[in-house]
Amino acid sequence: MTIQEIQEEIVDEFSMFDDWMQRYEYMIELGKSLPLIEEQYKKDDNIIKGCQSKVWVHAELEGDKLSFTADSDAIITKGIIAILIRAFSGQKPQDIINADTGFIDEIGLKEHLSPTRANGLVSMIKQLKLYAVAYQTQLN
């Protein structure tokens, strides 16, 4: 599936919920399915700055596609990063660089998009894209 298709799938899933509580419960659930980062990569260098909770992300190139693993000490943050990784993992770096992330708004997490927001969703997206840029350079 393309990033676009995965995002539409996520938007579909979230559209089943009527209120924030169900959305958050689902997000917490998604956090539990997050592909966890290996302990060796859980170091300060891999912490995303700008988050009130700690978020570690690691990226690896498998063939011409990027795969991400991550972790966080906060459950909601874990859910948010899980959603992002689901959309980006297993995709080509160039596609990740080009990806639009407007779907976050559509799944009712708009308030997390503000750059001043403590969870740093914006920083997470930026970091995932930076990994893509770095690996794209390697591929070229």
């Binding site: 924030w20 509580m21 958050y24 419960e25 917490i28 009130q52 909770s53 700690k54 000490d73 906060a74 459950i75 909601i76 943050t77 403590a118 969870n119």
Partner: protein, 408 residues
């Protein structure tokens, strides 16, 4: 059991913002230690200033300028009376406590040398750590820390051991923003003076709850921010003893702070203008005055008494939640509760509370050394004001329980 003589329901009507809803829920505002809400009387004072006498002060010959100058200077007198300063010009308007502290720290750069020491308490806000670190970098002076115990009380015997003739300055908050501890500032000041050290007390967290009498305390510097005491943001004050204010060099150059200027030499204006360069926050100062009047009309004693009832009730309610731990259980504290539940991240609980319209603060509260002390990433902080109700405490407790259920 509510014993307060205050009519909280009526007082709440003074605050238009308390009527609003957040995500469809009635707002439960429990972040008062960060910024208090603004009563209509203060909002009116702002509207009135811009509607009727907005002008630059101290230099206009015209009526508006005169009215604005009078109103601005009246607030200085009000602050002088409120904090019982000896002289009007010992009150300096600043943009807030951070500015006040920086003004003093910068002034001491020309006074300190490398053999001197500065003492700062373990429970300071970053704004009362960083300026002194910068001062130490500049002068070579050393920064020493007065430690605290598990409950959030300063270790006064350790403080005494740290004091000696090379201690030039002691900085401590009157009330800790992260823990709510009311520090024994009288003792801190007396002991510092015994070795000849000057003392700055950061009153940002105290001023909404306790009236400090700067003369009785004999404190050298005291700071406050209007936005924590029902006033607007961007305005605050520094009280300084006249002898110190005369000794310290000006902080910023500009208009208003000069007596005479030529390209060869400038002579500085007298106090307080020496420290108020440029056009000040005139409207802010006037609104600060309105906020002070508003709070004094209610009465600080009645406010403190009711807030203590809120604190006691909230503490009892929250402690009923399984796994909830309160950080900061000092003998004397203001209506602030910093807590965590089990191993849950404060951010998770804070986010869910927010979705229910309950505003709390989460994180390290600009006091990372305290979080390091407890070895936690941060806390959830609920801080109460006199317009909060017991029902809101119940809503907080119910909200925490719901968040815990969702996150477990």
């Amino acid at each position: 059991m509510i014993e307060t003589t205050l009519d909280i329901a009526t007082l709440r009507k003074d605050f238009p913002i308390l009527e609003r809803k957040v995500y469809g829920y009635p707002l439960v505002y429990l972040d008062n230690a960060a910024t208090s809400q603004t009563p209509q009387a203060v909002i009116d004072s702002i509207v009135d200033y811009y509607s009727s006498y907005n002008a630059n002060i101290h230099r206009g010959v015209h009526a508006l300028s005169q009215e604005a100058t009078d109103a601005y200077e009246q607030v200085r007198k009000k602050l002088k009376r409120h904090f019982n300063a000896g002289k009007d010009h010992e009150i300096i308007f600043t943009s807030g406590t951070t500015h006040s502290i920086n003004l003093v720290a910068s002034g001491f750069a020309s006074i300190l040398n490398k053999d001197d020491e500065i003492l700062v308490s373990a429970m300071e806000h970053h704004s009362n750590i960083v300026p002194w670190q910068m001062l130490c970098e500049k002068t070579g002076a050393k920064l020493r820390v007065i430690p605290m115990d598990e409950s959030g009380d300063l270790l006064m015997d350790k403080y005494e051991q740290l004091l000696h003739e090379r201690t030039k300055l002691v900085f401590c908050n009157h009330v800790s923003n992260a823990l709510g501890t009311i520090n024994p500032i009288e003792e801190i000041i007396n002991k510092a003076h015994a070795v000849g050290a000057a003392v700055l007390i950061d009153g940002a967290q105290a001023a909404a709850h306790i009236v400090a009498d700067v003369q009785a305390l004999d404190v050298d510097f005291y700071t406050a921010s209007a936005h924590k005491m029902c006033g607007p943001t961007g305005i605050g004050m520094l009280y300084g003893k006249e002898e110190w204010l005369r000794r310290l060099p000006p902080y910023q150059g500009g208009g208003e702070m000069i007596a005479e200027v030529s390209f060869e030499k400038t002579t500085y204006a007298d106090l307080p203008h020496k420290f108020e360069a440029g056009t000040p926050n005139i409207c802010g100062a006037i609104a600060f005055g309105a906020a002070l009047d508003y709070m004094n009309n209610i009465g600080f004693e009645a406010i403190a008494q009711y807030e203590e009832e809120l604190l006691n009730y909230a503490t009892a309610q929250l402690l009923q939640i399984e796994g909830l731990r309160i950080y900061g259980t000092a003998r004397h504290k203001t209506s602030v509760i910093s807590f965590n539940v089990g191993e849950m991240h404060p951010y998770d609980i804070g986010t869910i509370l927010d979705k229910m319209g309950i505003a709390v603060r989460t994180g390290h509260h600009c006091a990372q050394p305290i979080m390091d002390f407890y070895q936690i990433p941060g806390t959830i902080r609920a801080s109460f004001s006199f317009y909060n109700t017991m029902e809101e405490v119940d809503m907080l407790a119910a909200g925490i329980k719901k968040a815990v259920a969702m996150l477990s």
